[in-house]
């Protein structure tokens, strides 16, 4: 087999994991509750279709520091991740257990020393532990989204999610289109003078949309007069 070139440190291994307290059904329930909550303007429940749920253990460096008279515990991700909410993760005192046999643990790729410059206090301990997260995918219309549920605490981390907007687009479209269509039909059929009304309405819309302001915009002249 190919030899491992010199200078590459041995792979990092998690020593233990935080015990998951939430099963898949509960995680899905929490996700649904979060999506239906009134605090955020989401898409109605009937349009959400849940997909797969996967529990992954993310490796984290757990630094225990003595800062003044306090013992501070700081968690930092031990692998590169694009998920939100994981950089400044806060934990209660969760139960730490040995690694289960069938656990899906992501490989740790970041040395503990990477985070030293941003830590304070006297170093007391550092461990590499796995934190379980439920990753649940769901679909709204044609878009796929994902929600992260902390499998130990049940906390939901904000990720990209759909938003319901405070505009009734169908009504807006109909109000803009139908009256002008009827007016112009009548104007052509009966009297072209009615077109004045149509033109007036269109100018009103233009004025409201501030599109007329575009005409008055002066172009910036470059140094070379271009």
């Amino acid at each position: 087999m190919a030899e491992i070139p010199g200078g590459i440190p041995a792979p990092l291994q998690c020593s233990s994991v935080i015990a998951p307290q939430i099963d898949e059904a509960r995680a899905r329930e929490l996700a649904r509750e979060w999506l239906e909550s009134d605090t955020k303007p989401f898409i109605p429940e009937d349009k959400i279709r849940f997909g797969k749920a996967v529990m992954l253990y993310y490796p984290f460096w757990k630094y225990t520091r003595e800062d003044g008279c306090l013992d501070v515990t700081v968690y930092r991700p031990a692998c590169g991740t694009l998920l939100s909410g994981l950089q400044n993760i806060q934990r209660e005192d969760n139960e730490i257990v040995p690694i289960p046999k069938d656990a899906n643990i992501l490989p740790a790729t970041v040395q503990s020393s990477v985070y030293y410059p941003e830590l304070h206090g006297i170093a007391r301990a550092e461990d590499l532990i796995g934190i379980p997260l439920w990753l649940i995918s769901y679909k709204v219309k044609k878009s796929i989204y994902m929600i992260e549920v902390d499998a130990a605490s049940g906390k939901i981390y904000d990720e990209w999610h759909p938003i319901k907007e405070p505009v009734n687009w169908r009504k807006t479209a109909l109000i803009a289109c139908i009256p002008l269509m009827i007016l112009s039909l009548i104007a052509v059929y009966f009297s072209p003078w009615l077109f004045l009304l149509v033109a007036g309405l269109l100018i009103f819309f233009l004025y409201q949309s501030e599109m007329l302001g575009v005409i008055n915009l002066k172009r910036k002249e470059g140094k070379d007069g271009a």
Partner: protein, 499 residues
């Protein structure tokens, strides 16, 4: 050029150092918030929840693309005359292919935005980076295919009908490069968004942000109002022409335009609630770090990989490959060994003795021995056609002849004139049996690459002749190949051939 021996764990890794600090990145994000068609109060109301530096891995394949294409393009004048322009294209450029080695999901970053240069060797674990996924061997294959396509596009740019096309790819580097980015997750009025900034140049690379709702509503009203007027007027004109003597075709076009405006305006402004700078959300489910999946090796490949410890087939001495070298001398017996593949092959070689004139002229100066691949080629031209051909004093190099390709790490602009000179002259090599003192340049170009360069040397020679080459058909047979060390005397910045 040791690409052929690249296996999963032997790909060189480099990274660009971040030059943008957190404060500068934060200011860049804030400036970006106020630009474009984003929500007007985004700068005030956006709450940045996280901002962190992350390195994204990219596969990078650099290759020298060489190609010759001949052909013509035709166009018809208004008078009916068909004008034919004949072309003869020669490409000899460096091509770079990059691909993101991890899934960046909604950020949609697919290619590396930084040019080669200024990288530092990457030490695993020293920075927070995404784990590269997929197989290096597969990525290398994709790179080759992509570069072939780039060469093809470049060479066929002006030619509609191709009559001759030959392209060669000389691999230079295949590596894994880590590029730093600042990632900011922020929330705005209940929505969650992300922006991403290049940590080398300080430019926004992509991300998501809410679009100005008021502007969208107004645009929708305007487009549908205009569409309504067009539909209404055209229907009325179709039913009753009245005083409007417009052709029916115009009325139908107006109707169709109105319908199209309504159909395009409604979904465009309704769905565009989020401005996505690049990419899509298609791969959101794989936002977790990618896992390296080595290529499934066949039994034969496994057998070959297990014999990675290379040994000289004659004396059994263990052979170690210096970086980049493809043919090296055995320390035990002195034979030249080709270690490009996973097996070791003996390469025959000659050592040319400097001629008397050179020795007298450069008395007291030790020559430098530069390795050349010498191919004994039998080249039969079966068909040749060139436009505007004129006879010149350039000799014909078809037929039986030795072709020389420089195998040392010498810039091609220096080596190519030597190759043509040696190929045209075909000098008589006076061999040295016991070796001579002097510096021997290491060999960086393997046999298969040199073989391709040989054919390109011939094609380039033909295209450089006066006239525009259109058709060239030939049989190119390599009968023998070996390394020849040719003495060159170095004088200041130039080399003087010793034969």
């Amino acid at each position: 050029m040791g690409l052929e021996r690249s296996v999963e764990d032997q790909v060189a890794e480099f990274y660009y150092k971040a030059k943008i600090t957190r404060g500068v990145a934060d200011r860049t994000f804030r400036t970006w918030f106020s630009k474009g068609i984003k929500a007007p109060d985004l700068g005030k109301c956006a709450e940045v929840s996280e901002m962190y530096l992350l390195y994204l891995p990219f596969w990078r394949f650099v290759a020298q693309g060489k190609a010759v294409a001949c052909g013509y393009s035709e166009y018809t004048e208004q008078t009916g005359n068909v004008i034919r322009n004949i072309f003869e294209e020669l490409i000899d450029d460096e091509f770079i292919w990059t691909e993101c080695a991890c899934d960046t999901g909604k950020y949609g970053i697919e290619k590396l935005w930084l040019d080669p240069g200024g990288e530092a060797p990457y030490v695993r674990g020293s920075v927070v980076s995404m784990e590269p996924g997929g197989s290096a061997i597969e990525a290398s294959k994709r790179g080759r295919e992509a570069v072939h396509e780039m060469i093809k596009t470049a060479v066929e740019k002006r030619i509609d009908t191709i009559t001759l096309k030959k392209s060669f790819l000389i691999p230079k580097v295949f590596e894994l490069v880590y590029a730093p980015v600042w990632i900011a997750h922020y929330s705005y009025k209940g929505g969650h968004y992300t922006a991403i900034v290049d940590a080398v140049r300080g430019e926004v690379l992509g991300g998501t942000s809410p679009i100005n709702l008021t502007a969208r509503t107004r645009m929708m009203i305007l487009s549908l109002a205009a569409g309504g007027i067009m539909i209404g007027s055209s229907i009325a004109m179709l039913i009753h022409a009245g005083p409007y003597h417009l052709v029916e075709m115009f009325q139908i076009i107006l109707l169709l335009l109105g319908i199209a405006l309504c159909m395009a305006g409604y979904p465009a402004f309704k769905e565009g609630k989020t401005f996505v700078a690049t990419g899509t959300m298609q791969h959101i489910s794989t936002l977790r770090p990618a896992v390296r999946i080595p290529k499934q090796l066949t039994d034969q490949e496994i057998l070959n990989h297990e014999s990675t410890v290379l040994q000289c087939p004659l004396c059994g001495e263990e052979v170690k490959q210096p970086w980049g070298e493809v043919v090296i001398p055995c320390k035990g017996c002195g034979h030249l060994l080709d270690i490009t593949a996973d097996t070791v092959k003996i390469v025959p070689y000659d050592l040319a003795k400097p001629d008397l004139l050179a020795m007298v002229a450069m008395k007291g100066v030790e020559p430098e021995y530069i390795p050349f691949w010498r191919f004994d080629v039998n080249l039969e031209v079966t068909d040749r056609l060139a436009g505007g051909d004129t006879s010149t004093g350039l000799p014909n190099i078809a037929g039986k002849r030795s072709y020389y390709i420089c195998a040392a790490d010498i810039p091609r602009y220096l080596a190519e004139p030597w190759e043509i000179d040696l190929t045209i002259r075909n000098p008589e090599i006076v061999e040295v049996i016991d070796g001579r003192d002097g510096e021997y340049r290491p060999i960086f170009i393997n046999q298969s690459t040199a073989r391709e360069l040989t054919e390109f040397l011939y094609l380039r020679y033909e295209t450089e002749k006066p006239g525009i080459l259109q058709v060239l058909r030939y049989n190119f047979t390599v009968e023998n190949s070996r390394i020849v060390y040719i003495p060159y005397y170095k004088e200041q910045a130039s080399y003087i051939p010793g034969i």
